[in-house]
Symmetry: C2
Subunit: 130 residues, 2 copies
Amino acid sequence: MSQLSVSEAVAETGLSAHTLRYYEKEMLLFEVPRDSGGRRFYTRELLAAIKFISALRATGMSIQGIKDYIDLYRRGEHTAQQRMGLLQSHEELVQNQLKKTRASLEMIRRKIALYQTQLDAAASATQQGH
Amino acid sequence: MSQLSVSEAVAETGLSAHTLRYYEKEMLLFEVPRDSGGRRFYTRELLAAIKFISALRATGMSIQGIKDYIDLYRRGEHTAQQRMGLLQSHEELVQNQLKKTRASLEMIRRKIALYQTQLDAAASATQQGH
DNA sequence: ATGCATGCTAGAGTGCGCTCTAAGTCAAGC
DNA sequence: GCTTGACTTAGAGCGCACTCTAGCATGCAT
């Protein structure tokens, strides 16, 4: 029950089986345990790690960036400071990206508002027979 | 002065000349005027359109999506409703994406905080000779 | 008039992150 | 014992958004 099959991991993470294998291979990192038949199973710890990786991806960190982070992880406890540094600079990056997205969104909203007044004006003109 | 050269448009938009030409070709839309020598120049209106397109791109709309929007634009005034609909559903999409990004960012921050307490504990242990 | 920056074209190339293919293995249920 | 279905592998393929190349044209500045 604390060991999930591939299909269960797919359901939990929202990633495809292909993508799970791709991450495993590209990041060369979490050694996914296998059953007697050579099939993968995912422990709770592994699942948590994958979810964290998903969060990094969802915020735009590249596969290479994540790989670098995990490589540090595997080098041991003394890399904690560096790992934190990596996360901190990524956080900053994401904040800036959010700021930019919000500004762009604001621009889009202004355009929508413009359409709205324009369409309202057209509608009331029609109603009044203009 | 209200007609910008390529290099000025590059400076204003933050896009490369390559990208400007690429957008022009892919979106098949804004007919960029040319000088006697066949070189492009950008009017203020065009610049504004390009900046709006940049906002759509910055919020993740695909080239194809933008093309669809502009195609509507060129079909005339009666497509205003549809264009607004397009923008509205894009807005919704961006909102959801923002929500997801913020959740992921929160996860990353918790991890950073974890590192911080961990490193603080290690530091004070060292200081006290443990 | 000469040199150099800027711009032009068509089309090829790149990097990223998946995503799929093909052929095979294994375990459980009928 | 046979089928079914979830899984395995190595490697090819794809879609997107640029990004660059090569070779040529134009036009301002010395």
